[in-house]
């Protein structure tokens, strides 16, 4: 039996045969080199859906029953469609800038995540928002939606295009102080975060001078706060030649970004970022280099990079190695319970605020951290409070038997520990009343350790 430690040669998307070790961190144990290849492997299918969408949706794993997880990946990748943003769009049109508790937009966004047809696209749209951050703290809701549209359009498109469009995006200009930045006395905030967080990573060979140069190049843009319209003022822009990381040229935003996107540091940074999202843990340098090459060869098209990651052994072996962040947790919880009317269920902006993750309001420019705080006591208290307040729809009572297996499947959990299974089994056997038994099983499943992970 070939275990995960065998350096089996594999063909990457770029056609390279590599002898790299599968990700050491997830190497040992029953999930190994054969992961992804078992037909009807529910745990494996659920893993793909967890990482590539906001699911699994109830019944989805069963509906994909004949596939291997690797097949499912191919199906998700084959889907060329982009989800349009319709309901949220309408909400944005009549919303004012104040974040009223009754705002429809948040619910519309959550519904989009839960019901959007094109799963991978929806996931990437959200992930880019956590990367190229902007916030309602400074930008208006209309501006944030405009940015959201840009991200949506480019989520599985071209990274260079995405980075360029966002550099002159109203919400981004306002958020990172590019608005009104002049060539003579440029504001450095955007340039710094662009290089450090968005595109190259920290300490990747650029200096403070380079940051200042980038700031000059990005200058000259103005945002009209009323309309959200962005204009470029040639006079306010810096036009003389500048040297950026050793290259001297008369730059503009577009040419500078193109240059930066041509650097191997950029390719590795984006590869690392997507690796963290889809696999987690510490990637082997060789793997990152390989992914970076795929990305570069694809001229920074995002989809080939995603495909290379999703087709790797590392991906299929990485079950339950990451924590579930609040927005995702809430989406899967609502779907498991069969709740579709979010207003009725009283899902408010402060529901997400209590969970610590409010879309369009990242805690800072670095976005939301990806660590064990999302399974800490604070989070348990917040999540349990929400779950216990939700009402189980009649239809769910009809569809789901009050048994451990039915409830776990409904929650997309096909591989839970003995401990969790035993706890649920006790609830099933000790709790007499039919209706309340189902609620108890759900409450426990949705606050179980496994449900907190992905």
């Amino acid at each position: 039996m070939s275990g995960p430690d065998a350096a089996a040669p594999s063909t990457s998307l770029a056609g390279h045969h590599s002898r790299r070790q599968p990700l050491a961190a997830v190497g040992s144990g029953p999930i190994g080199a054969q992961a992804g290849l078992a037909r009807g492997d529910k745990a494996g299918l659920a893993h793909v859906l967890r990482r590539c969408s906001f699911g699994p949706r109830p019944g989805e794993v069963e509906s994909f029953g004949a596939l291997t997880p690797a097949d499912l990946v191919e199906e998700l990748l084959e889907d060329e469609g982009n989800n349009a943003l319709s309901a949220a769009d309408a909400a944005a049109r009549y919303a004012d800038d104040d974040l009223e508790p009754e705002e429809e937009w948040l619910r519309a966004l959550l519904v989009q995540m839960m019901q959007g047809q094109h799963r991978l696209h929806e996931r990437m749209t959200w992930l880019w928002h956590t990367h190229f951050t902007s916030s309602l703290d400074k930008a208006s809701l209309a501006m944030m939606f405009q940015q959201h549209h840009r991200i949506r359009r480019n989520a599985l498109g071209n990274f260079r295009t995405l980075a360029t469009e966002l550099t002159t995006d109203a919400a981004m200009l306002v958020w990172l102080d590019g608005d009104g930045s002049t060539g003579d006395a440029p504001n450095e905030n955007y340039a710094r975060e662009f290089l450090e967080l968005f595109v190259l990573g920290r300490d990747q060979g650029y200096s403070e001078d380079d940051i200042r140069v980038a700031a000059r190049v990005f200058s000259g843009w103005y945002v009209d706060w009323e309309s959200g319209e962005v204009t470029f003022n040639e006079e306010a822009h810096y036009t003389r030649p500048l040297t950026f990381m050793g290259t001297r040229r008369r730059w503009d935003a577009e040419s500078l970004i193109a240059h930066i996107c041509g650097l191997p540091e950029c390719h590795r940074h984006v590869a690392r970022t997507l690796h963290r999202w889809f696999i987690g843990g510490d990637p082997a340098d060789a793997f990152i280099d390989e992914l970076a090459e795929v990305f570069a060869d694809a001229d920074l098209e995002i989809k080939p990079l995603v495909a290379a990651i999703l087709r790797s052994d590392e991906f299929h072996a990485a079950h339950m190695t990451r924590v579930r962040q609040p927005v995702e947790w809430l989406c899967v919880t609502l779907q498991a319970l069969g709740i579709t009317d979010l207003e009725d269920a009283e899902i408010w902006p402060w529901t997400l605020e209590a969970l610590g993750q409010m879309p369009f309001l990242p805690p800072n420019v670095a976005g939301w951290p990806d660590d064990d705080r999302w399974s800490s006591a604070s989070q348990v208290v917040a999540r349990a409070s929400i779950v216990l307040d939700l009402e189980l729809p009649e239809s769910t009572h009809d569809r789901v038997a009050p048994t451990v297996d039915a409830v776990l499947a409904r929650c997309g959990l096909y591989d839970v520990s003995e401990t969790t299974r035993r706890a649920l089994a006790h609830a099933e056997s000790d709790f007499g009343e039919f209706d309340r038994r189902l609620e108890l099983l759900f409450a426990l499943a949705l606050t179980s350790p496994e449900f907190a992970l992905t």
């Binding site: 989070q379 348990v380 208290v381 003995e418 035993r422």
Partner: protein, 433 residues
């Protein structure tokens, strides 16, 4: 003795009417606001009993000490809180916000207080002035992050919060070492090992206490799911990272249950001696939690609304009144519970505000004054920034906030500043009793 004490319980509001000094004249009701901040060695200056019987003269031993952090959210205009007396400059540049000298309370050493704070000042307050940051930013966000992390500079090195790091040092395995009651988890309490919890409202976690057979079933199921992992389970998971994630998730649940046990009996509605308001609500819960003696050492509470870009002349005094009344009630409550000598109260705010006023309010500023209450030597510490040499209308800080933090870490908790802050953070002497 006037004021809040156990004997005055139940007369919360009215007892303050008699002790808060009249803003027009002094010494109308037994407290003489011009003789404030009595010298600590006397305990209580003759003829000027403070509402709680004088400033604290001796702190409790380090082992039992607590910290309550009151975050003034939005950027407190500390010049409107503690104002230099006789400043023509202030009259010139903020005529609509400056407080007339005759109205200032507890004037001493050329400084006077917003009159609404007289009650609090009477309990013994150490004002630490000129606190700011290197390269101040005028973004709430950026500055809040710096204060939470305890990093005055521009870099983003740490993933823990200053309060979280204090909790890591104070952690003795108790169910919860630090808690935030001000609207959910605060980044300030992010720790490496100590358990810290954020409750989004005082009633968060109700399900942990309520008596109900269904909830019993839920709680026992939770407890079971949080059981330690068996060897077989460990083998089934295989990879270290998977095991670690699962164990941390189980720990999250078991910590929740231990937290619930330790604070059984806390009643969010137990606040007869407190005024109405969100801050008072948080503080009344805080005192019960500290009194439960369950290992809780740090409590974070918050008061919002300080971002007074407009309407400042009525908003700010209102906030000061709320702060005063809530803290005075809290201090009295601590006194009743025998916790006054062991509880230090500190305020924080992401920045002060610009010196010149603008359109009925003030813009984001730089340096500000923070307050320490409880076992402190009342008085003024640090250096009030110059009003004549402003930096584009802003005060220039005369100390970094990590020196303020270092004072709390070292002088209050006996934790060397370098354990929780940058190596050059320096504690101030003489403030902590």
């Amino acid at each position: 003795m006037l004021g809040i004490s156990a004997t005055a319980a139940g007369c919360g509001g009215s007892s303050w009417a008699t002790t808060s000094p009249d803003t027009s004249t002094s010494a109308t009701s037994g407290t003489d606001p011009s003789v404030d901040n009595p010298a600590p060695t006397d305990g209580s200056a003759a003829g000027a009993p403070t509402p709680t019987g004088g400033a604290v003269t001796a702190a409790a031993p380090i082992a039992g000490r607590n910290l309550v952090v009151v975050e003034l959210q939005g950027g407190n205009d500390s010049l409107a809180m503690l104002q230099p007396v006789g400043s023509g400059r202030l009259h010139d540049v903020r005529p609509d916000q400056v407080i007339d000298d005759e109205e200032l309370a507890a004037i001493r050493d050329g400084l006077g207080w917003q009159p609404a704070l007289a009650g609090l000042v009477g309990t013994g307050v150490a004002a630490v002035m000129g606190i700011g940051s290197d390269d101040p930013s005028f973004s709430h966000f950026e500055m809040e992050q710096r204060w939470w992390r305890g990093e005055p500079g521009v870099g983003r090195e740490r993933t823990t919060g200053f309060l979280g790091r204090l909790c890591d040092q104070l952690d003795d395995g108790s169910p919860v070492t630090g808690i935030s009651l001000s609207g959910g988890p605060t980044p300030a309490l992010l720790s490496d090992k100590a358990v810290t919890v954020g409750l989004s409202d005082p009633w968060g976690g109700w399900f942990l206490q309520e008596k109900d057979s269904w909830l019993d079933g839920y709680r026992s199921g939770l407890a079971e799911m949080a059981s330690p992992m068996s060897g077989a389970e460990r083998d089934a998971l295989g990879a270290d990272v998977r095991i670690a994630r699962n164990e941390r998730a189980r720990a999250g649940i078991s910590n929740t249950l231990r937290f619930a046990d330790s604070l059984a009996g806390i009643n969010p509605e137990n606040n007869d001696t407190y005024p109405y308001g969100a801050l008072a609500e948080q503080l009344s819960l805080a005192s019960q939690m500290l009194d439960a003696d369950a290992g809780l050492r740090v409590v974070h509470v918050g008061l919002g609304g300080f971002d007074t870009h407009s309407g400042q002349s009525w908003r700010h005094p209102q906030l000061m009144t709320e702060l005063n009344d809530a803290l005075v009630a809290f201090i009295a409550d601590l006194d009743t519970r025998g916790l006054r000598e062991s509880t230090l109260i500190m305020t924080t705010s992401e920045f002060g505000r610009r010196v010149p006023s603008n359109d009925g309010g003030t813009d984001h500023g730089a340096a500000g004054t923070s307050l320490l209450c409880g076992p402190v030597n009342p008085g003024f510490y640090g250096e009030m920034p110059s009003l004549s040499s402003l930096d584009d209308g802003n005060l220039t800080a005369t100390m970094r906030f990590d020196d303020y933090y270092a004072t709390v870490a070292e002088k209050w908790f006996g934790i060397p500043a370098a354990e929780v802050l940058a190596p050059n953070a320096e504690a101030l002497d003489g403030i902590i009793v």
